[in-house]
């Protein structure tokens, strides 16, 4: 159920189905693996069987000699590193000299079919001298541990030490100071569409066409040029339909570059489709994280100081690591008014698949620890969880201590909405044994205000074409990965022009046709591309009004436009239909092309401290949620009975899509909270299937009641902010707080699987017995 967003008139707006929705639900949408690859070679990857080792021998001669094999590549064939951060590219598409995790690509083949490719892989001779391997942050950081990367002492990719305000004074004036240690398991995106790429190399023109499951075609374009050492102008990157990203496909992935290298080596077309196990090996998701958090609080619930230490086990290569460890600290701010914050972050190398970005990038585990400890302290002070949150609200507009802009702030309304909807006041403390209510808040950025590759270009550009047929085509590089970004572009253009939605077509994600975009990450598209689309539509509208003015022999400022008709404002005169205005506009110039852009001003781009750009954004979304649970003490099984979520997305451009995104975020939080985790046995992924990696089934999926709060951001497109990440981080703490309410046990580890609940219960009872004995004794 959704409390509908309201338009200016107060009438509820439902929104529209995604413009590509019918193609998807009828099976007509073409995903990468569906692309015609009848004449393509099959690409397969030979992966390291060991966690850490020096390559002694890699003999591919027999594989090359096999009939039906067109190319076999090794690290020798690509001397270039790749990566998402220009300052931290320490990974080769195919390992060179050393392997650092089990499953790391070592060699690749392109053959006529899958069976031949497999036979070729089996013929590869690989010999390594094994080196010590580390599977936990503690082992990797231990004195004397061998370095995974020689230039990274202590196996640390990055240490962050940020301090804002006087933490010591804050703790000194607190009535209650508490510390908690919370640990969150590594999770994976588990997007349903497995990774795939189709690369075609044309030897005569030396051009490469790449189709892949990417979220950021631009990064892929850059890395292909770098690793293949060819001019970027000879590369075309196309994004077909993509079945889910969640951060998995922001970074360029090794298999994408390998597919392109194979296509060039074979002088043809290569299709690479990864197995589910290989998807898990490719990883790039949320790291295992240990959080040590200390908070100071006054009797009225005011937070006086926050000290937080975060250790992330980042895997074998840098990837996005620096950004993740910075986000974990930066987003301690921007949600509550906290006068002093000290943050120490450690991003650690380990002999496991590299971690990366995942929905709620960097912020989720820290937020979990924070909201759990906040609740425990509230309980100790006899305060209601809502009261504690309300005691620490920000006032927008404001700037945080780490120089993040908060321009709109609907958290108070979110709190009100879920408190009322869940019947919190009437029900809290009155539920039967084994049942509990818990709540938490969260927030997220609407796009990183400072892009990773800072080029001086606008943050987003959208082109519009108006032609003789009266159709409007919007060209955008923004990657629709199921989140509905193409629909958002169509709506913003149509609403700005006042034309029917059906008049607008969106062409997205083809570097030969669409303008470059920074892609689908950090929830940037609605805010940035939406603003660029509105800007383009305004430019087109100006042209149409001028054309109507010429035709009606009036001044442009006198032209009034109602829907698709134009007339002179005073009325009574001739009315021009859209087709006539288009015809008038095309006289002498032909088809019209206009452009719109959006740029985040420098003051939005974060503080001057090292790493200060991470977390910077034009607008934060805010969310509050209440979770109701039942816990069966005998088996430790948790049932989520219901979730109430409110999200401040500024303005719901498409309420239907916003509701879906919020439910998706809550549901993904549910997975991380209840059952999802990766588990390695000596570096081998024991979880690498959808049987062992436990995304929730429909049985675990509770009713999610969504409330949309609209705070009308001053800079967002029509006042909109992001809607798909903000609600995720609040779920896990709300759940854990509800479990604590239900059975009186505080759980310090995610996910809260039945065995962990049982273990905590056994320990809790043991302590209770011990306590009782001591009482008797004394």
């Amino acid at each position: 159920m959704t409390r509908a967003a309201t338009a200016g008139t107060g009438a509820p707006r439902r929104g529209v189905p995604l413009i590509d929705g019918v193609a998807k639900v009828t099976g007509r949408a073409t995903y990468t693996a569906d692309l015609d690859h009848a004449d393509a070679l099959v690409g397969r990857i030979f992966r390291s069987p060991v966690s850490h080792g020096e390559i002694i021998q890699l003999d591919v001669a027999s594989a090359r000699a096999l009939d039906g094999v067109f190319a076999v590549l090794t690290g020798e064939d690509c001397p270039h590193t790749y990566g998402v951060l220009p300052v931290a590219m320490n990974e080769f598409p195919l390992a060179r000299g050393r392997v650092r995790y089990r499953g790391e690509p070592v060699a690749a083949v392109a053959a006529v079919d899958a069976a031949t490719a497999q036979r070729a892989l089996d013929l590869i001779e690989f010999e390594v001298r094994e080196l010590p391997a580390y599977y936990t942050s503690t082992e990797a950081r231990a004195a004397g541990a061998m370095l995974l990367h020689d230039n990274k002492p202590g196996n640390l990719e990055r240490e962050v030490h940020h301090a804002f305000g006087d933490v010591t004074a804050g703790f000194a004036r607190a009535d209650l100071v508490r510390e908690g240690c919370i640990s969150c398991a590594e999770v994976n995106h588990a997007q349903i569409e497995p990774h795939a790429a189709l690369a075609e190399y044309e030897p005569l023109t030396q051009r490469l066409t790449m189709q892949s499951v990417t979220q950021v075609a631009y990064y892929l374009h850059l890395m292909l040029a770098r690793c293949l050492d060819i001019d970027a102008s000879r590369i075309r990157v196309i994004k077909p339909f993509v079945g889910g990203g969640f951060g998995a496909r922001v970074e360029v992935l090794n298999f994408e570059i390998i597919t392109a290298l194979l296509a060039r080596a074979a002088a043809g077309k290569v299709m690479m489709q990864l197995t589910r196990e290989e998807n898990f090996l490719t990883h790039r998701a949320r790291p295992q994280t240990d959080i040590r958090l200390k908070l100071g609080m006054c009797r009225d619930g005011r937070i006086t100081a926050c000290e937080c230490e975060v250790t992330q086990r980042g895997g074998a290569y840098a990837g996005y690591g620096i950004v993740t460890i910075l986000y974990a600290g930066a987003l301690l701010q921007g949600i509550y008014d906290i006068p002093a914050i000290k943050y120490d972050g450690y991003r650690v190398y380990a002999n496991l698949p590299p971690c990366g970005a995942m929905r709620g990038h960097g912020a989720v585990d820290t937020r979990h620890a924070f909201e759990c400890l906040l609740d425990r302290m509230a309980r100790e002070l006899g305060l209601d969880p809502f009261v504690v949150r309300r005691a620490n609200l920000l006032q927008a507009p404001t700037r945080t201590m780490n120089d993040l802009m908060v321009n709109s702030y609907g958290l108070p309304e979110c709190l009100d909405a879920v408190e009322q909807a869940s019947g919190w006041r009437e029900r809290i403390g009155k539920l039967p044994p084994g049942k509990g209510l818990g709540m938490a808040c969260s927030h997220y950025v609407s796009g990183a205000a400072k892009p990773i590759h800072w080029t001086g270009e606008p943050h987003a550009a959208v082109n519009l074409k108006l032609d003789f047929d009266g159709s409007i085509t919007a060209f955008t590089g923004a990657a629709d990965i199921g989140q509905g970004s193409s629909t958002m572009v169509a709506i913003t253009v149509a609403e700005t022009l006042g034309v029917a939605l059906e008049r607008v077509r969106v062409v997205a994600g083809d570097s030969a046709i669409t303008p470059k975009d920074n892609g689908a990450y950090s929830s940037r598209i609605t805010f940035m591309v939406g603003n660029a689309a509105i800007d383009a539509a305004k430019n087109l509208r100006k042209i149409l009004i001028e054309a109507a003015a010429r035709k009606l022999e009036a001044a442009p400022e006198d032209i009034e436009c109602i829907g698709e008709t134009f007339r002179v404002g005073s009325g009574g005169q001739a009315v021009l239909p859209f087709a006539d205005v288009v015809q008038a506009a095309l006289v002498d110039v032909g088809a019209i092309a206009v452009k719109g852009t959006f740029t985040c001003p420098p003051e939005a781009q974060g503080g001057r401290h090292r790493g200060g750009a991470v977390g910077s954004t034009m607008g934060f979304s805010y969310a509050a949620q209440v979770v109701e649970v039942s816990v069966e003490e005998a088996t430790g099984a948790i049932t989520v009975d219901k979730v109430w979520t409110a999200l401040d997305c500024g303005h719901a451009i498409n309420p239907l899509a916003v509701e879906g995104q919020i439910q998706g975020a809550v549901w993904m939080g549910l997975g991380q909270a209840l059952s999802e985790e990766t588990r390695y046995l000596d570096g081998l992924p024991a979880h690498a299937s959808l049987l062992e990696y436990r995304v929730p089934t429909i049985v675990e999926s509770p009713p999610i009641e969504v409330h949309i709060v609209e705070s009308h951001d001053p800079h967002g497109p029509f006042g909109a902010k992001e809607a798909s990440e903000g609600a995720l981080a609040g779920f896990a703490p709300a759940l854990v707080n509800a479990v604590s309410h239900a059975i009186g046990v505080d759980l310090d580890e995610l996910p809260v699987t039945p065995d962990r609940v049982m273990e905590a219960l056994v320990e809790h009872r043991r302590r209770a017995r011990l306590g009782a004995l001591r009482k008797v004794a004394s």
Binding site: P49, P194, T275, A634, T635, S675, L691, M758
Partner: protein, 329 residues
């Protein structure tokens, strides 16, 4: 993509005798029913049979007969059909509940009763890809020398994870076996051995043809511990049959799965007969289960949890059945 399956020939015999004959003639062959277990293992490179003998065209195997003297279930009856059969749902509740708790709807439409009874044992070191197992030096169950779960031990500890077996065992179900030596009926419990690498007491060409449930069953139920409410195999599965009269237990049988290399009936339940199932008795039952189950590190959930959960489920099911019998008051 999924890993390519190995090459094999497919035969589709019309009767049981033909299937057994085909199997005897080709040592590298496997019977194929729903394929939900076997095909996954084929793609993982665990088995490379030269011949697959598809049983779907054998009419006899799909018979489900509800008679005065009990119910006979053909081995190729699907799990979905089993859980939908009214007589099963009304009289052999544990069987219907266990069937409905297997995997998800798609799998239940394909998977069969015989397949679930003959399900291969499972282990986190075994149910992995060829690359995974080879990188780990394989294991005692397949191509390897040691059991990674208990490296000092002599046998494979992979756990039997079928849901139906314990639910059928508590009714003293029998299975009919067909082989070169003809046909025979044996107690279902005798089909299994406590060895993860050889848990079925069948010779190579033998197959399960049918299961027979005796008439007049006591009330029963089934429950399984798992992380998710669907899809997952049991970390521990418990079936209980309990009849009571005048506040005293008349029949108590407990079947267990997921904790050992075979499903088994709890020993010592006769001690509960002729007594009320009070708190002390329930605690004794819990201890009895804890003592007899042997969970090992074959799943990602801890062995300790599986032991505790098995006991807790047995207690809950028995307690509920006793209360429902009206005998408790």
């Amino acid at each position: 993509m999924t890993s390519p399956a190995p090459d094999f020939r497919l035969a589709q015999p019309r009767d049981v005798q033909a299937a057994v004959t085909l199997c005897s003639a080709q040592p590298s062959s496997r019977f194929l029913a729903g394929g939900t277990d076997l095909v996954v293992n084929l793609r993982h490179g665990i088995e490379k049979p030269a011949l697959l003998i598809d049983l779907s065209a054998i009419e006899e195997l799909r018979q489900l007969a509800v008679l005065e003297r009990g119910i006979t279930i053909g081995a190729c009856t699907t799990i979905a059909a089993l859980s939908d059969t009214a007589a099963i749902r009304h009289r052999y509740r544990a069987v219907a509940v266990a069937a409905a708790a297997i995997a998800g709807p798609g799998t239940r439409n394909l998977a069969t009763v015989g397949g679930n009874l003959c399900l291969d044992t499972r282990c986190i070191y075994f149910n992995q890809s060829e690359w995974w197992r080879r990188s780990n030096g394989f294991c005692l169950k397949h191509r390897g020398e040691i059991c990674h779960v208990a490296p000092q031990g002599q046998r494979c500890h992979a756990a039997f994870s079928g849901d139906l077996a314990p639910a059928l065992m508590i009714f003293d179900a029998e299975v009919e076996i067909a082989g070169n030596a003809g046909r025979r009926w044996i107690p279902l419990a005798d089909l299994y051995a406590e060895d993860g690498a050889a848990h079925l007491a069948l010779s190579a060409e033998e197959m399960v043809v049918a299961v027979r449930l005796p008439p007049d069953p006591p009330p029963s139920n089934y429950a399984k511990a798992r992380v998710r409410g669907a899809v997952d195999f049991p970390l521990a599965g418990v079936a209980v049959a309990l009849a009571a009269e005048s506040g005293q237990v008349v029949t108590l049988r407990v079947g267990l799965t997921g904790t050992n290399s075979r499903p088994f009936l709890l020993k010592g339940t006769e001690a509960f007969i002729g007594r009320p199932l009070d708190e002390a008795a329930l605690q004794r039952l819990e201890r009895l289960v804890q003592k007899q189950v042997r969970p090992m590190r074959t799943t990602l959930a801890s062995a300790h949890y599986r032991r505790l959960a098995a006991a807790a489920l047995a207690r809950r099911l028995a307690g509920d059945l006793f209360s429902q019998s009206g005998a408790a008051s």
